[in-house]
Symmetry: D2
Subunit: 337 residues, 4 copies
């Protein structure tokens, strides 16, 4: 790059794509958005106009363009894999929103290519790794403040979902955050996972399973349980407690004014993921930009995207089989260690 800033091309200009363009433009000093693509032309053109970018006729063309140093993928889930593959072929840095792919096989191909190149090019959009609460928990574990971690108790509760929500999404779009953050906190791979059926909530606005109780067991026997409420909950509330031999760590609620009135003391909770985790997205992209400039990505990798994909598959299988299912992964290439 002989220009001042990392020139980013963004594929997918829907709501999350727009938020990311805004961040790359106004929050991250090292990046500028020069190229956009969306399979619907209108949002791409709007974004292009607002941020002074060029509209491309395809994601592939955008990825191949000389003016694009790095690619951000925020398009629909089914398109991620092909775009990441193209970026790998073009040897360009890429930021991919979760999930990395719809199948483990696709992830394995990416890993093969990236590993053979001996250099990480992909950063996965697992933003919680940048949330100050989770970061503080990870540090406390590493500082041995609670001894060896043995369990995680967690909950992911949503007030509502967009139309078209399905039972699988409770895993692939919702619990996928806990799949990743629990692996990251425990620094271990999963051995076996299970979905447990639970009494259903009448607050569900569609016919999907809600809630679901999702559990992971790591190779060393640590247990993670995740209560997944995809609809009808009292707030957008994310809970996470790591239990170690000598103590526990709880993810804090966001700081909010302590109110005493009407015979009670209360704090407001978040209602949306954007309100709850906005700052973590900022830091995620600042980290990506720094990784590109240093030629050494630090955030979640293709391997992490793969692990999430394999785990999701096993969970969905378990939900259907009613039994625990194994998580089977290929050997981890050195570049991800």
């Amino acid at each position: 790059m002989d220009h001042n800033k990392i020139q980013v091309g963004v594929i997918g200009c829907g709501s999350i794509g727009r938020e990311h363009i805004e961040r790359l433009t106004n929050v991250v000093p090292e990046t500028e958005v020069v190229a956009v693509y969306d399979y619907v032309s209108e949002p791409a053109e709007t974004a292009a106009q607002q941020y002074g970018a060029t509209v491309y006729e395809s994601g592939e063309a955008l990825i191949r363009s000389d003016e694009v140093d790095a690619v951000l993928i925020a398009s629909t889930d089914d398109t991620h894999a092909a775009y990441v593959m193209e970026a790998l072929k073009q040897n360009k840095y890429v930021f991919c929103e979760k999930p990395l792919a719809l199948s483990a096989e696709e992830c394995e191909k990416m890993i093969e290519i990236e590993a053979s190149q001996g250099h990480r090019l992909v950063q996965m959009g697992f933003n919680r790794r940048y949330d100050s609460g989770y970061v503080e928990m990870k540090e406390a574990i590493q500082n041995n403040e609670i001894g060896e971690p043995l369990m995680i108790h967690s909950a992911h509760r949503n007030i509502s979902q967009s139309p078209g929500f399905k039972t699988d999404y409770a895993i692939t779009r919702v619990a996928i955050h806990e799949i990743d953050i629990s692996r990251w906190l425990l620094d271990e791979e999963y051995d076996e996972v299970q979905v447990l059926k639970v009494k259903q909530s009448k607050q569900t606005s569609g016919d999907w399973l809600n809630p679901q109780l999702v559990t992971f067991k790591t190779l060393s026997g640590q247990r993670v349980d995740v209560e997944v409420q995809t609809d009808g909950a009292y707030a957008y509330d994310i809970r996470c407690q790591v239990v170690g031999e000598n103590g526990t760590l709880d993810l804090p609620d966001p700081a909010s004014v302590v109110k005493r009135n009407n015979q009670s003391v209360s704090n407001e909770l978040a209602t949306t993921w954007a309100g709850r985790f906005g700052k973590s997205y900022d830091d995620e992209f600042l980290c990506w930009a720094k990784g590109i400039l240093n030629d050494q990505l630090m955030g979640a990798s293709t391997w992490d995207g793969y692990a999430a994909c394999v785990t999701s598959d096993a969970l969905i299988k378990s939900r259907d089989s009613g039994k625990p299912e194994k998580v089977t992964m290929i050997e981890q290439p050195d570049i991800y260690k």
Copy 2:
């Protein structure tokens, strides 16, 4: 009873027996302890001297004595069933520390007799039903403050155990509290239970399994998970969260001074069950005395003791089988409804 107070005979004068004698004497105005028995003579004699009671030569003799209106059983676990049976035969009120018996069959015999008499005589020592936190949670559920309960997440953490502790005791002496209180909170019977193996803590001072992860499923599909740390935990800490369709309820920590020093804000936690739940024992015995005077016991019943016994058996079976196991109970007689 033509005398002023309920004359209680206490079987078992060990540490918990002594605490109960103290309570019946100094906290409960309606009772006095007139008779004691212990299979070791020394503690019985000491208690008798201190509280002005008569030492009996056997539990059976004590139960049959004319001066004894009601019996409290705080002897070793294996003796409970026979004493309760004797009290039922003598048609005397009895307070029995957990567990009610070592086998479901024994409980079923008691239930048969008590039901045939058409009148409750037994109150089980499930003291948490009198803890103000659990009571407040139960009321909030009944007041529909969180909608229909769907799950309970709970933890039972201990700093240490007496010598001779065994893996089974994690269920029969420790998680038995959660077996009872979860049924009571949800007002439902269990369908299926499971013990899950977890990575073990190096803080365990013996060779029993620690921690264990214990789960219950109710007939309507509600799920309860109980983390059971029997040794090495940071405090005597009891956590319980009921998750409903519209909200959650958390058992509060005991009130303690909020300290700000050394760059942190902190509260002390309890270290022993006596410190944590002392007040609930007071209220438990006050309730028992009132129940006797009104000829209508209100606390945990033979049925509740039976449910705990059957559930414990199924959990131990599950721990060995590695699978969920069914909880199978006889039909509930009307006097327990």
Copy 3:
């Protein structure tokens, strides 16, 4: 006393008197109420019937009666001093609800008599000294957990008052608790006190001053501020923070279930002093009975009642003068040290 229990005579059978009779009968094993008096006959007769006591025709007669070992004074404020004087003359133990007297002079006479007898007979009804939160704060100070105490920030907030409430009562009936508990926590006498005028609340149901801001300075220069809201507050809420050189201590809220619903997390607060401090009254009377049996009273003394009286007078003077006013006390006799 050659009978089993301390035979107590109660003067004043209004609401607080009745609560105390109930406690002495059912909570304190060492006492029984044998005599009652009220200047209105009906409540005295009702209490006598319910608790098996004798109605006396005057407080003096009750105090002098041979069947009365100890006297509890819960009558109207203006009658306290004369009854205490009579008990002192009769050399009988007495429990006196706050205030000890309406004037400092009366207190000084009592002190003179009691000191000349060389033995404490009076315990003042400052129940907060028995609240577990305040007790824990006092211990933490003594254990040097926050270094030398320099300030106290506190608040006394009420939802409502009985009819007939007056501005003076904000001191003599409300802030009197903070006058005593702050002295007790700091273990120092006051040098100077002040009432500061504050913007008035429209929630006041009468024409008295509300709120008032009350401040004390101790002889060593420690400062105490007390926000006094006598009416219209969101709860019955008592706050107290001791600020030391190395940290702070906050009186905890009563433990209550943590509720998450409607996009907030909340705890209920107390609404009445009885709900908030009930347990402390139990412990106060248990302490009094023990003090009588040991012939050594431990609770708040005539001196503490005097200090509260002098401080109240100075505060009322300050409210009128708009300036700080001195707290001037006689020399402390040894029996109070």
Copy 4:
């Protein structure tokens, strides 16, 4: 401005100046730092090199320079007034760190000029107005969630101070934040203020007065108390409670992981103002940039700087006189309303 970004000149390149240069460069997309000055040449040159700015030979030259659109003043307190005056003369936007001046007279001159120009040019560096906790409190007041505000109880506690700290600084550099934020929260001017002497802390590393108790009374009679611990405190801890007729609002502690270990539950507190309020500085400069671009400054004004100055003077006078002192201000020009 016909260039892309607001070109800022920074006067004062010490630690706070450097932090602001970093922010204007990397956090605020609308600004770039093109000019720097410091009365010591070395820090100016270092900053110039790092951020590609030009070093000027005087603050005045920097202010007058054509390449400078707006000025940021972070030099020593005694120089602020003259630089602001110069910026006003040059009709340039200026951001001035607190205090605005060392005397009320200087502030009045600025106000006269700015008011005569009919347009605000000055934004004061009162960063707390951008802290999410204070912002949330202000909104809750405006939404009438606690009724009419009557009092504020607050505390400003520091672990340590730089060498050379003096008693006056407890007002002019420390409590000045509470002077401003309390006015802002209550939306009222002060009538009378007072410094109260308090028992001194042995943790003070110099001979200045510590702690001091600072109080303000507003024109409508609202009372504000501020405990000011300038040294030796357990943390950098900022507390603020607004008391309204119907409830209270407490500034939240920063969110931090809840740790349970060693028989207690705890959260870490901040140790420095930078750690506690870093985000508010970001938002303060984003607001300044937006105000410049819209030709309408929104942040704290010359009037606010003046109010802080007059209040500080009265407090210092009160500290010496031992009495309350009046806060007397000129009539407020319309541009500040």
